[in-house]
């Protein structure tokens, strides 16, 4: 099971230029909206035609500009889950699922439909129309419909973006179960970092139509290779960096000098620090400890984001260097500490970025 994509397509705002390879592991396409993720899926499904390049699926050529091959959508054997599900509103649930099985004899078709209905727990909803279903049920019908044709590849285009937080959580779990039984290649498009991390094994990060980073999700999250990948994977604090020596640099925007635990080169451009890796300095910390004042605080139900200014008292809201995320109970303790707080930016947590 393998997919190889290497395509170029000129779009109004940028030129899409992606190249990646996907196999058994769920491959996530991560990027901000308008970065070319969905367009890539549409090219693979044969909905859009790339200007040049090649798409291969399990040794089959789906598209090859040099040889003039462009296999039509209906012969590609792709299962496509659209963002809005794109169910046939004029057909019942069972007709939707069976629509791709026109060529099968009636009995065989009914068996497959039956089986998909059981698999997706849609029992009792067979005669309903899509408009009579909830968002989650519609998604299950769409997935059943896509899987009914036994596709060699499953393309999931932001399938959870239209759902509320609770439903999103449950459906992500269901999807992970379903995908673990699915034998083909899976591509999952999303701009949601948590979703990408939960569902995918591999990640391809796109920015303005270009691949910024490819690798296992752990690598992409732990060692982002560029500022935009760091931002996309949820890194909230960054500063431009100026090289001082092979284990020290200046974080210009924060006005501090930082020590590193590995050697750095003169190529260093930026430094990043994830908001939840910032911590209160202990007595043993010698390096990268700074006096900080809280500028303002943002509370969500279980966590608190504190906006910190290094080195002086903040002159107002919006005057801050770092975002610090911590659990609520920790925050209650923090409120008792005298100002300024001693904050440590651990050298092993610094994200060194060369572009």
């Amino acid at each position: 099971m393998e997919l190889f994509v290497d395509i170029k397509k000129k779009l109004p705002d940028f030129t899409l230029k992606v190249k990646f390879y996907a196999a058994e592991q769920v491959m996530g396409l991560l990027g901000a909206s308008g970065s070319g993720k969905s367009m890539t899926l549409r090219c693979i499904a044969g909905i859009e035609k790339p200007d040049e390049g090649k798409i291969m699926l399990n040794g089959r050529v789906l598209f090859d500009s040099e040889k003039g091959i462009n296999v039509p959508s209906r012969l590609r054997k792709v299962g496509y889950l659209f963002q809005n599900y794109a169910l046939f509103p004029n057909m019942t649930v069972e007709d939707n699922i069976g629509f791709g099985l026109q060529k099968l004899p009636r009995e065989k078709r009914n068996t497959v439909v039956r089986q998909k209905i059981d698999m997706m727990k849609l029992n009792g909803l067979e005669k309903r129309f899509p408009s009579q279903l909830s968002g989650g049920q519609q998604q299950r019908v769409a997935l059943a419909r896509a899987l009914a044709i036994e596709p060699e590849i499953l393309l999931l285009d932001e399938p959870f973006s239209a759902l509320d937080e609770h439903l999103r959580y449950i459906l992500t779990k269901n999807l992970i179960d379903i995908l673990s039984d699915y034998k083909g290649v899976t591509l999952f498009v999303t701009h949601n970092i948590e979703e990408a991390f939960r569902i995918c094994g591999e990640l391809t990060v796109l920015k303005n139509g270009v691949v910024e980073s490819v690798g296992s999700k752990e690598d992409v999250f732990r060692k982002p290779n560029s500022l935009s990948v760091a931002q996309l994977t949820g890194c909230k604090n960054y500063s431009t960096a100026r090289y001082l020596s092979n284990n020290e640099f200046e974080a210009v925007d924060w006005g501090v000098k930082l020590k590193t635990d590995s050697l750095i080169t003169e190529d260093i451009k930026y430094v990043g620090m994830r908001a939840h890796y910032i911590r209160l300095a202990s007595e043993n910390d010698r390096d990268n400890v700074f006096d900080c004042w809280p500028s303002f605080v943002n509370e969500s139900p279980f966590r608190v984001t504190v906006y910190l200014l290094i080195g002086s008292r903040p002159k107002g809201k919006g005057h801050y260097h770092l975002q610090w995320e911590l659990p609520k109970d920790k925050w209650r303790e923090m409120e008792r500490f005298p100002l300024p707080w001693k904050i440590c930016l651990s050298s092993e947590k610094l994200i060194i970025l060369n572009k």
Binding site: R42, A45, G46, I47, P72, S73, R74, L75, R76, K77, V78, G79, Y80, F82, Q83, N84, A86, L87, F88, P89, N90, M91, F99, G100, Q102, F129, P130, S131, Q132, A142, R145, A146, I149
Partner: protein, 228 residues
Amino acid sequence: MNMDFSPFWISLKTAFTATVLTFFFGISAAWLVTKYRGKLKGIVDGLLTLPMILPPTVLGFFLLAVFGRKGLIGKLLYSLDIQIIFTWWAAVLAAAVVAFPLMYKTARGAFEQIDMNIIYAARTLGVSEWIIFWRVIVPLAWPGIAAGAVLAFARALGEFGATLMVAGNIPGKTRTIPLAIFFAVEGGEMDKALLWVALIFFISLAVIVLMNYWCGYQRKSMPANRGR
């Protein structure tokens, strides 16, 4: 008053046949233009809509030029011993051409409203374009298509100018209600004309009113008609 009711039946038959013809040509053309993304879209659409704006006499002139004895298609048909001009089929042809833009325009409007993802989804499922067209696209655009067919029927029923030029006024063969009205007035038989006028007035009104109710009913009873 000695009344010949043949124009009534000829009108209904002509309008009905013309509507069936425009239905298939109209929705096919509408779908092809909807799908077409090239530069000539505006011109193609203009040509297909033109019969709505041109005087019927101009259409009659074109039809004579094409289907007449020396016309492009006419010549071919004459060699096969088929004559169209001044037969009932000419009346159908005239009515169909005049009614075509109404069918085409309303169907296209309905097609443009369809969520393209639904059609893409159907394609990825491996279904042929033909089945997708009849099982997905037409049902989704149905309220628009049905409205177009009704308008086309009403327009075909009222066709006069082009019909007179290409089909003539042959009693019992090509004389439709509008022609009967014209020649009744010309012959000073105002009471006869009034009867025909009343008849066509009520047929046209009834068709459109029925259509309105039927469409409203469809929308209510089929929650499936328009996605979410």
